[in-house]
């Protein structure tokens, strides 16, 4: 007989309590995923997956340990595992900060509670459908003049369910769907090739752009990289194009993580309440968007998710804490996090930003970034388009860009070209002086 996951978690927590745990949380998830890849018009791979996972965390006083195992679903093995978790916890040294979120702050949620957010599309396309769309997206890329080869097109569909219970009575049931479509195209030949790609994902299949559109964009990006030259080493204005501008902002999100701040390893740890960006810069997060790519009712610790402003008029407003880091920093856990995040657009479009800067580099690809989280020193391999007299001149590659992020943040000017494509989005960002290493 198949026992409902929620009941199995309930039994697991009860077993942990009986064995001596003062508090416990248990989690299970399962999903069905289908992925189809085609290459040069022919089926390449078809995959079907049924992942499943179980985990248990127990506290004995201020000591804790966790176990993850497939065997929790087997009742005869479960008690031995629970015993092992308790043994580990009793041996662990005390951690005064770790624990469940306060019971009066969490909110239990059900699949019905989530329904208004519309995060589950029950459509389950067959592998043959996915194969057809994958073929279409690849064909559109191959049709772009200059595209000579393909990594292939891929279409995926997944449906997942998650359950989380705690010994305080929190019950969280959640389900999600996800559909994605992508392709990578190769341009050039005779020993000089470039690759680029484009892809989109969404909880609702109908919200994905047309396959032809995605494929054409991938092909265009690959062809635009051809004919690239190296640059002489220089210092110049750099615009990070909107497709990768989040790469500059993601380290900001790590630096305001409560855990990093608490252990002293963030380059922004002393900047709470200070102006880190220029006046007028605003970054918001909103978990309540209907069909939002990362929307949620509660965070992973059961705290209600709310919209908030991370950067207000350039000012760093707060840390992203979990229960443990909030306690360590003397703060109340607030459930704020990164879900559907946006940097508000500025006044000028990309062409105007280039005209303003006059001469400089438009970065369209970054790879191999390195960051020193203590200092904010950052660099990455790059390629893009050198612009002169306000307009594109020629493509460049095999260069690096480098600088110190607090300095970038203070100077950056967002363009007006914000587009919502991923869960985190920012417009193109102009920074007036960046070190570029080349020949």
């Amino acid at each position: 007989m198949d026992i409902a996951p929620e009941d199995q978690l309930h039994d697991l927590i009860a077993a942990a309590r009986r064995a001596g745990a003062d508090a416990a949380e248990a989690h299970t998830g399962r999903s069905i995923q289908t992925k189809v890849a085609v290459r040069l018009g022919k089926l390449e791979t078809v995959q079907r997956e049924e992942p499943e996972g179980w985990s248990l965390r127990v506290w004995v006083g201020a000591r804790s340990a966790s176990l993850a195992s497939i065997d929790f679903s087997d009742r005869t093995k479960r008690d031995a595992l629970v015993e092992r978790a308790l043994t580990m916890a009793r041996l662990a040294p005390e951690d005064p900060h770790s624990g469940l979120a306060p019971a009066d702050l969490v909110r239990s949620i059900s699949v019905e509670d989530e329904a208004p957010l519309q995060l589950f599309d029950p459509t389950e396309p067959r592998a043959a459908n996915l194969e057809e769309i994958a073929r279409t997206v690849e064909a559109a890329a191959l049709a772009v003049k200059g595209v000579t080869n393909s990594y292939g097109g891929e279409a995926t569909s997944s449906h997942s369910h998650q359950w989380r219970l705690t010994s305080d009575g929190f019950v969280g049931c959640s389900r999600r769907s996800w559909f994605s479509l992508s392709t990578s195209a190769i341009a050039g030949e005779n020993g000089v090739m470039e690759v680029d790609g484009y892809g989109r994902g969404a909880p609702w299949r109908e919200d994905l752009p047309a396959a032809e559109q995605i494929g054409a964009e991938a092909g265009r990006r690959a062809v635009d990289r051809l004919g690239a030259r190296k640059l002489a080493t220089t210092r110049a204005p750099v615009i990070f194009e909107r497709r990768l501008s989040m790469a500059i902002l993601r380290p900001y999100l790590s630096a305001i993580n409560g855990g990093s701040v608490a252990r002293g390893s963030s380059f922004l740890k002393h900047r709470l309440g200070e102006r880190v960006f220029a006046p007028g810069i605003r970054v918001m997060d909103d978990p309540t968007l209907v069909r939002g790519l990362a929307s949620r009712l509660v965070n992973s610790e059961g705290l209600p998710a709310k919209p908030w402003v991370l950067v207000d008029d350039g000012v760093l407003t707060g840390w992203i804490t979990d229960v443990a880091s909030a306690r360590q920093l003397g703060l109340t856990p607030n459930g704020l996090g990164v879900t559907n995040l946006t940097m508000e657009p500025g006044a000028d479009n990309l062409e105007t930003l280039m005209a303003q800067a006059g001469t400089g580099l438009l970065v369209t690809n970054l790879f191999g970034p390195s960051l020193n989280p203590q200092t904010g020193d950052w660099s990455a391999g790059a390629s893009g388009v050198w612009f002169e007299k306000g307009g594109p001149a020629y493509p460049v590659n095999e260069i690096t860009v480098a600088g110190c992020l607090p300095d970038f943040y203070a100077r950056l000017i967002p363009g007006s070209d914000l587009v919502i494509e991923a869960s985190t989005n920012a417009p193109s960002l102009l920074i007036d002086a960046v070190s570029i290493a080349g020949a």
Binding site: K42, L43, E44, T45, V46, Q47, R48, E50, P51, E52, G53, S55, S64, A65, S66, L67, A68, S69, I70, R84, T87, M88, L91, A92, P93, E94, D95, N149, Y151, I186, G191, M193, V195, R225, T233, T234, R235, R263, G264, S265, F367, G368, S370, N372, Q374, T375, D377, S379, A380, G381, N397, E398, I399, T400, V401, A402, S435, A437, G438, A439
Partner: protein, 480 residues
């Protein structure tokens, strides 16, 4: 070699789960009828991870996962289905899904992998030793020693990871191949503070055996000393000048340069599709004379080693570049069959939940005869890179990029000041043609490498002698 044999690993995983062997073999043979290749890959992995950070034990986690993947290969098409439980119903569903790959295809089953009696690592469960309580004491001792070492130490992080993996591969003819793989790693990070600035040093070590030698007090104390040394050098470092210069790269872990600059570009899947900058270049010069690059999964107890790969092929040393000439790619069974080559143990997968593909094992360059000191003395103005961090490569354009975690300027043939923020960028097919000097000091990395490709991570080893590369672009924040 092992102490007492581990009885659990001697019994088939499928049998342990009550799966009827004859019925499963019949079902698999059915799914593979007319296909070129395929198998059931069953796996059980037990892992233990303890993380001590900011003066306390932040994570103590034990995990056990198991499952299987069923693969059907027909021509260039692969059908794959996997599940996180091993039972007949799941196997039957998987066989039905994966067999879609061979719709309308008629092939002949490929040669099975050859058998081996090699054993590259002991059949020990590294999770069991040291005992949980002793692991905690060890981490506490490391933390205390590091904080006591110097008043500038403001933060310490130490972790112990151990893994025990049982692999069982069942082929269409009913043959079964087993492997039992231990893997351990100790990792230590020390943060030092001076004049209000902080920086870190990260070290680690491990391999395919029990913790043993890597957690002896002399060993871990030397690691902590080294982590602090690196942190203090980085605190003194000045911003690196940017521009093209000669670079001398130290031995060992810096072999990650080869892994990115040429390794990925020589993987068989990219080359059979013509998407690598090295495609179609077998027989051509891709490196300077004297440069010989190998991949070898058959080295005892190294992190990147495997007795058999994840398709059941025994590992061996393969020469990829010989005296500067490209001679071979690395293959899984699929790319080997399609390119008319022999697979040598490079078919790897992260877990049962992933399809295998060509991956590296332990990749390195053979040593030459030049002293490192000579390389530095011969450099008028350049960079000495003692340690690289991580790197990344675009195998189609051939461009690779690295950060240097510990680097110094070379001025008039002498190492002068430490520099920070040095990034190397180059082009794989040409960077090694400018290897002007090859050192006599080959070593492997201490057992800390992870390689990511197509969202799959596998443990790897790298190694090289000191190397001088002429005219590499060095990124930095200073100009001139």
């Amino acid at each position: 070699m092992s102490a007492a044999p581990n009885l659990l690993s001697a019994i088939s995983l499928l049998e342990q789960r009550g799966v009827d062997a004859r019925r499963v073999h019949a079902r698999l043979a059915d799914a593979l009828a007319g296909a070129d290749d395929g198998e059931i890959y069953a796996e059980r992995t037990e892992t233990e991870w303890l993380q001590f950070d900011d003066g306390r034990l932040k994570d103590a986690d034990r995990s056990a996962t198991e499952g299987f993947g069923l693969r059907v290969v027909a021509g260039e098409v692969v059908g794959y289905a996997h599940a996180a439980r091993i039972d007949e119903a799941a196997i039957n569903r998987a066989a039905a899904s994966a067999a879609q790959a061979r719709a309308g295809y008629h092939g002949v089953a490929a040669e099975p992998p050859r058998r081996t009696n090699a054993q590259l690592y002991p059949d020990v469960d590294p999770n069991a030793d040291p005992a949980f309580a002793d692991k905690i004491s060890l981490l506490q001792a490391i933390d205390a020693y590091a904080r006591d070492l110097d008043p500038s130490v403001v933060q310490v992080s130490a972790s112990l990871t151990s893994e025990y993996k049982i692999v069982e591969i069942v082929r269409g003819d009913g043959a079964a191949i087993h492997d039992v793989r231990p893997l351990v790693r100790l990792s230590i990070q020390v943060t030092s503070e001076k004049d209000g600035r902080r920086d870190t040093g990260l070290v680690g070590a491990g391999g395919r055996a029990s913790f043993g030698e890597w957690i002896a007090p002399e060993a871990w104390r030397a690691q902590v000393d080294e982590a602090l040394r690196i942190a203090r050098v980085r605190l003194k470092a000045r911003p690196c000048p940017a521009g093209e210069m000669d670079v001398v790269i130290g031995p060992g872990w810096n072999g990650v340069l080869l892994h990115e600059a040429v390794g990925h570009g020589l993987e068989g899947d990219f080359n059979r599709k013509g998407s690598s900058a090295f495609s179609g270049r077998i027989g051509q010069r891709v490196a300077a004379p004297g440069v010989t690059v190998f991949d070898d999964g058959s080295i005892h107890q190294r992190r990147g080693s495997l007795t058999v790969d994840d398709e059941g092929t025994p590992t061996e040393r393969s020469i990829l570049i010989e005296d500067g000439i490209l001679v071979s790619y690395m293959h899984d069974r699929l790319s080997a069959r399609l390119m008319g080559a022999a697979p040598k143990g490079n078919g790897r997968r992260q877990s049962f939940a992933h399809m295998p593909m060509p991956r590296m094992t332990n990749t390195g360059m053979l040593g030459g005869d030049v002293e490192r000191q000579e390389m530095i003395a011969s450099t008028k103005r350049g960079l000495y890179c003692a340690s690289l961090g991580g790197g990344q490569v675009d195998i189609t354009s051939g461009k690779f990029v690295f950060e240097c975690t510990e680097a110094y300027l070379i001025e008039d043939g002498k190492i002068t000041v430490p520099v920070k923020g040095a990034t190397l960028i180059g082009n794989g097919p040409s960077a090694l043609t400018r290897a002007t000097m090859i050192g006599n000091d080959f070593s492997f990395d201490p057992g800390i490498g992870n390689c990511g490709k197509n969202s799959q991570t596998v443990p790897v080893g790298v190694g090289q002698p000191s190397l001088k590369l002429a005219g590499l672009t060095v990124g930095g924040t200073e100009l001139g």
